[in-house]
Amino acid sequence: MTAEPRRRPRLAVWKFASCDGCQLTLLDCEDELLGLAEQVEIAHFLEASSASAPGPYDLSLVEGSVTTAQDVDRIHHIRAVSRRLVTIGACATAGGVQALRNYADVAEFQAAVYARPDYVATLATSTPISAHVPVDFELRGCPVDRRQLLEVITAHLAGRRPAVPAHSVCFECKQRGTVCVTVAHGTPCLGPVTHAGCGAICPTFGRGCYGCFGPSDSTNFPAFVPLLRRDGMDTLDVVRVLRTFNTAAPEFDAASRKELER
């Protein structure tokens, strides 16, 4: 049988305001990297390659949040040349840590960092990709988890829905047999309201989850916040922990505002 050689799907990786950690996670797939590169054509990936081919692309992975006017144009262009667009990480999915500017006066921020703020063009907000264009799938985490990233890529290339669970970190602690740090030690932990995916790393190290994967699919803050308080967090502690790496996630944002109203 002489089948026509199948065209390899074309993959592109894009960066907006970010630390590059999520794209690095792709390069950290040492065992799979060369294999993956045989299955797909890596058409655009600045961190890894000086060669770049124009679109269209079958799958675009987007890291980072939108923080400049040019970013807005660029993400529309990327959407237009991508069959599927998947965001990777808290920056692209929930504005990232840089979205802390959303609560502040950016002019003041600029003046704090730059002597001549007028040289630096930036938007007053840091927004997730989905605030600008339709997104086919959002992969959470700051940074994303390596196994989940591979699953998402493979699934999209195969045209199926990625098997990425939507439950909370608590579930992963149970799966892993980690003793609950809140129950055993009274350590404040965001596990109950945080999206699974990391494999419950922090509690395994005896630390409470700080929510780097963003909100899980069902959160119940009115029931949860009193637990944090019981374990010694005051209003500002609660607000700060919700306003860190996923501060523009609507659930965390709403819960932090509610706290401040108290």
Binding site: K15, F16, A17, S18, C19, D20, G21, C22, Q23, L24, T25, L27, D28, E30, D31, L33, L34, A37, I42, L46, E47, A48, S49, S50, A51, S52, T67, T68, D71, G96, V97, Q98, L100, R101, V106, E108, F109, Q110, A112, V113, Y114, A115, R116, Y119, V120, C142, P143, D145, C198, I201, C202, F205, G206, R207, Y210, C212, D237, R240, T244, F245
Partner: protein
Amino acid sequence: MTHRGSRVLHVGSLSRVEGEGSLHLRIRGEEVAEARLAIYEPPRFFEAFLRGRSYTEPPDITSRICGICPVAYQLSACRAIEDACGVTVDGQLAALRRLIYCGEWIESHTLHVHLLHAPDFHGCANVVELARSRRADVERGLRLKQAGNAIIELLGGRAVHPVNVRLGGFHRVPSRSELRPLEEQLRRAREDAALTVRWVAGFEFPEAGCDHDLLALAEPDRYAIESGTPTVMPAPHTAGLPATSRRALPTRTFGVREFGDHVVERQVPHSTALHARLDGRRHLTGPLARYAISGRLLSPIALQAAQDAGLGDPRQGVVCRNPYRSIVVRAVEVLHAVDEALRLIDAYEPPPRPYVDVPPRAGTGHGATEAPRGLLHHSYTLDAEGTVTDAVLVPPTAQNQDAIEEDLRRTVQEHLRSGDPTDAELTALCERAVRNHDPCISCSTHFLDLTVDRAGGGH
């Protein structure tokens, strides 16, 4: 004047840390009128929003400045805040910090050596292309990188933004037996690292020199990684030597707390990254600086490998000032870090507590460590409750920017004198010159769109 007239070369796409920037060259006849590394990575305002956060938070928050050297950010932050609080972390907790930092050196340097830099020396666009002709070398690099990641994952929970580092030490420390599986992987890695030094030593290196002042942390008895005193080796021309001089010059030091008096950042119009200068002069941090200042303290096998690789014997006062050979120094540092990690694991005894208490107090603290790409300084001012009221972060890329621009200028100048390079050739040259320094923008130094604006000679 020449037939070439003036031209402007703009290579779009290099940051304060990581990320994006571009390159801009203005040439008049045979003279380089301007070489600018313009960083347009959008500002993320870390220094601003650290204000008002609790003193326990900067290690986690500042790690998000750079996904490629998060441990460097975590440990510089810890040291600075502990300094403000008057706490010293020593003994086995300090050893574990050094160990996780070795993991980062191995991982980050290997990423740069194998995945980002080596393709340059083989005329390849990326590591995948390189793997077609040099499969074994690439696979060895991936194994080495994995070994570095394995250390960070074991001690920190994950390779990017590890969760286990905290003020005073760690949330949890491993037992001796938990570290043991690393040993076998690291012994293999030591062979891989030695082979890598030999491999990169065989590359072809353009003749080049640099006369930047060199700045690195130094310790009396070991190669500085997670602590040390800022030490300056002046440029050769201050002693009347040529830029390529391979002679070590007498060094001077200043305290970590005086860092801000010596290394001063200023803003330049073309970049969102601040440019820093050392006592008003351009300087370079990173592998070349460390090797010049502490090379004699490398572990014996790393020191031997360095000499076999043609870097010269630092014990005899030889230094390497060829930026293209930085890839060799990086490979040597990987070998040293692997060897050092094995030594630390061998000597490890779990400390009685995973961390020492760091009670808040009002004051300003300073901390500096050697990130893979150079000295990273943090300073924080705290109030009595431990709220951060001011934060100043000086990353290596900001410090190296002037040095990189000078390298660019020099490279292009030499090529203009010795031939008639096309824009494409100049672009390739410049990209290489930038990648030599592994700025936290090495990713985007694989930049692409080149716009050439050919102006007439009359401009």
